[in-house]
């Protein structure tokens, strides 16, 4: 069983630089990644269906900023906490929780029942997003490497090291080893 | 359009049952379905009243049918169901397994606890022998209209829920016993303390449901007075009224005046409010929305 179940948090040493750096590169990078993912997995948008136009606040509680996801425009923007635009639905939890859910290691309802994940606003939109992403079997580590093919080998090593260091699931594991 | 009295879902003692049906003999209703619907454990306490009630009602010119239980699980409940036909009255099926005991070709009635949502199901039951069908309360009026056409073409009578706390669910678990921290098998028949069900409110004090042994009802009383005109137009032939412990004969008399226009829905509602100041009303199913709304407004927002 993986250690990362939503109760792992990002080391403080990594948080400090994030506090002082500007947020626009984060928005650019994440939006580029989102575009790639949606292009490679068109079924995500078809599952989200009529909730594509909803705005989702992804409140990753151990990051110094909040994310706002706009599926229809394939846009992810980072905002200083408190300055984020209003969203139709808000999902709050730790980065580890989000990543574990995305990578099929952890069940969203389980995190929700245990209080590790909180939801506000449009429940239908949240379910549509959750189910669409769960079906897509994403691997963020692999997507990042594909986005930057020149850097793939060093990235792979860096991601693996980062995973070991933080306990965060950055790649989709072989699930037969997880359960 | 005439009136059918639903089987009494509550646990009343023998004397109360006797008085109730004696009084009902004088009410302007066309037919009465009686028998135990909710819990077979109650039956020994009042079953001796059934033959007398049948006789009284028939003598008063009413058609009488006997209901099956809503949920049949135990061996003695199956035996009970098999014996119903022996009474020589139409059996109202409220659990489909009762059909197993009704030979093909023998006419029967179907109660509101059988799931009839569409043409195929209605036609199948008619072919099997159904002669009178009360549709489930949650059925939207558009569906009622379509099914009424078929019922008319097939020459069978179609009823809808007209008045009374809505039968929303049936369970293996007894909520009355649970509220008294007892197991169902040692319930000590505590549901007799609540002749119209035991009210269940939300934590904010919103009136919501009512439990009656293994049955869950709405706390609000359905009142389809506003919809009688439309229901009559689309070919619904009877309105079903559910017994309640107080003022039932009077409300039967009022509902009987509705179809001919001898009483307006507002006057009927006014009488209900005067006679039962605490009675919350609902008619949402008749308007195709949440059951818990009254005249187009949610009971709570």
């Amino acid at each position: 069983m993986l250690a990362a179940r939503g109760d792992v948090s990002i080391p403080r040493i990594l948080i400090l630089p994030m506090r002082v750096l500007p947020l626009w590169p984060v928005s650019l990078g994440l939006s580029a990644l989102a575009r790639r993912i949606l292009q490679a997995h068109p079924e995500i948008l078809s599952r989200i269906d009529k909730y594509q136009s909803k705005g989702f606040a992804l409140d990753i509680t151990d990051l110094p900023f909040a994310l706002h996801l706009d599926p229809a425009r394939a846009a992810v923007r980072a905002w200083p906490r408190g300055a984020a635009p209003p969203a139709d639905a808000r999902i709050s939890g730790t980065l580890a929780g989000f990543l574990a859910m995305l990578h099929g290691v952890e069940d969203g309802d389980t995190l929700f029942f245990s209080g590790a994940l909180q939801i506000e606003g449009d429940m239908s939109a949240v379910l549509a997003l959750r189910n669409a992403l769960d079906d897509a079997e994403l691997d963020l580590g692999a997507e990042v490497q594909r986005a930057l093919p020149m850097l793939a080998p060093p990235l792979r090593a860096a991601i693996a090291r980062f995973e070991r260091l933080t306990g965060l699931p950055l790649r989709r594991p072989d699930l037969s080893e997880v359960y | 359009m005439d009136l059918t009295v639903a089987p009494n879902p509550f646990f009343w003692n023998a004397a109360f049952v006797r008085d109730f049906y004696a009084q009902l003999a004088g009410a302007p209703v066309a037919r009465v379905v009686l028998g135990e619907l909710v819990c077979s454990k109650r039956l020994p306490f009042w079953q001796d009243e059934i033959p007398q009630a049948i006789e009284t009602l028939q003598a008063a010119g009413k058609e009488v049918a006997v209901t099956s239980l809503a949920l049949i699980t135990l061996k003695r409940e199956r035996k009970l169901t098999a014996d119903l036909l022996g009474l020589g009255l139409p059996v109202e099926v409220n659990d489909l397994s009762a059909l197993h005991h009704i030979p093909a070709g023998t006419p029967f009635w179907v109660g509101p606890l059988v799931n009839i949502y569409n043409d195929s199901t209605l036609r199948w039951l008619v072919r099997r022998g159904a002669r009178r069908i009360c549709l489930p309360p949650e059925l939207p009026i558009d569906s009622v209209a379509l099914l009424a056409d078929i019922a008319q073409a097939e020459g069978i009578a179609l009823e809808v829920w007209g008045h009374g706390r809505l039968p929303l669910a049936i369970s293996g678990r007894c909520y009355h016993a649970r509220l008294h921290e007892r197991a169902k098998d040692s319930c000590q028949f505590i549901c007799d303390a609540d002749p119209d069900g035991r009210d269940v409110d939300t934590l904010d004090g919103q009136r919501f449901l009512s439990v009656n042994g293994v049955q869950t009802l709405s706390q609000a009383y359905a009142c389809m007075a506003d919809h009688v005109g439309r229901l009559r137009e689309i070919g619904v032939s009877a309105l079903r009224l559910q017994p309640q412990s107080v003022g039932f004969a009077a409300l039967c008399a009022d509902y009987a005046r509705l179809p001919e226009g001898r009483m307006s829905p507002d006057a009927l509602v006014g009488n209900l409010r005067a006679a039962h100041p605490d009675m919350q009303l609902c008619d949402g199913y008749g308007r195709g929305g949440a059951g818990a709304s009254w005249r187009g407004r949610a009971l709570y927002r």
Partner: protein
């Protein structure tokens, strides 16, 4: 024993098959099935692909078409049965009398299972469905004790399937209108219970309040999680009592009863949870497969530690123990 596992998405189907499911059940993305939630269920192409994936690994696919067709719109349900047959489904799971009659007439070779939504709770009901519509297997409602299940199996000729894990209806399934009373949408008509579009979470005076259709279902202190406002799991007041009048926020875990269920003549064990993720499906299926494998080999089944995956993070054996009632 056959392990029948839930799949709300193609990914969950693959997770179930990879984790050892003997059968997977799923439905189309519309009102024809009883888990009609946003983002869930299968298109026609996805079902055909899923059937291919399952069959390649020796698993079966059962298609749930277990809501009650709307008058005047029965074509949608008839289509679903025809498309399931086309996709190579091993059986359809049906509840409605009219739809059963249609399937028996137009698709006589397609195996028919009786859905739990038909609430066939005694041998007479089961024999009625078997004789009238050629039903081969019945999913038993969750109102029966193990002893009653054994007694039923002695009187019927068709297979029985029982729920062993997951969300628990306390009412007889397919016979509950609580949801439509509060919201206008019900499991029978729309394939949804306590639908998400009627859920409202609010923060009031230091408490999380969960409402459904305007009715307060839960109040929990801030910081604690507010459970999903499923009507029958709510906290209510009746006279001097406040609490979970119908059922606590628990879910079913009958893993310890599997040997007794086998002895009672049960053919298949069903896991609830088409609305859950592939992570959930994978973990539960793997755990239960260990139980059925042990049983086949004559070994003592392992104790499972699955409580954290359950709603309320606690479990009950439900109606299988007579005292539950």
């Amino acid at each position: 024993m056959e392990l029948v596992c839930p799949a709300g998405t193609p990914a969950a189907l693959r997770a179930a098959v990879d984790s050892g499911a003997h059968s997977v059940y799923c439905g189309f993305a519309d009102a024809t099935n009883a888990r009609n939630f946003p983002g869930l269920n299968f298109s026609r192409a996805e079902l055909a692909e899923g059937v291919g994936y399952a069959h390649a690994q020796g698993a079966k696919v059962l298609v749930a078409i277990n809501t009650f067709p709307t008058a005047g719109d029965e074509g949608l349900w008839h289509c679903a049965v025809a498309d399931a047959a086309c996709a190579g489904a091993d059986a359809v799971i049906l509840a409605d009398l009219g739809l059963l009659a249609h399937a028996a007439e137009h698709h006589p070779d397609l195996r028919r299972h009786l859905s739990v939504q038909a609430a066939a709770a005694n041998p007479d009901a089961i024999n009625f469905y078997a004789e009238a519509f050629g039903v081969r297997r019945v999913v038993l409602p969750r109102v029966l004790s193990v002893e009653e299940i054994a007694a039923i199996n002695r009187e019927i000729a068709v297979e029985t399937e029982v729920f062993v894990f997951g969300g628990l209806c306390v009412m007889a399934e397919g016979r509950c209108s609580l949801s439509s009373y509060a919201t206008g949408r019900s499991p029978n008509m729309n394939g949804v219970c306590s639908p998400p579009e009627f859920v409202d979470y609010a923060n009031e005076g230091g408490q999380n309040v969960a409402r459904l259709g305007g009715f307060v279902i839960h109040r929990t202190p801030n910081g604690a999680s507010a459970p999903y406002p499923t009507l029958c799991k709510g906290c209510f007041t009746s006279a001097d009592k406040t609490g979970h009048v119908f059922e606590d926020a628990v879910s079913l875990d009958a893993s310890t009863l599997v040997p007794r269920l086998a002895k009672a003549g049960v053919t298949a064990l069903k896991i609830e949870g088409r609305q859950r993720s592939r992570a959930y499906v994978g973990q539960i299926v793997r755990a239960f497969r260990a139980v059925t494998d042990a049983l086949e080999a004559g070994r003592e089944p392992p104790a499972l530690a699955l409580a954290r995956l359950s709603e309320g993070q606690s479990a009950t054996t439900g109606a299988y123990a007579k005292t539950w009632r």
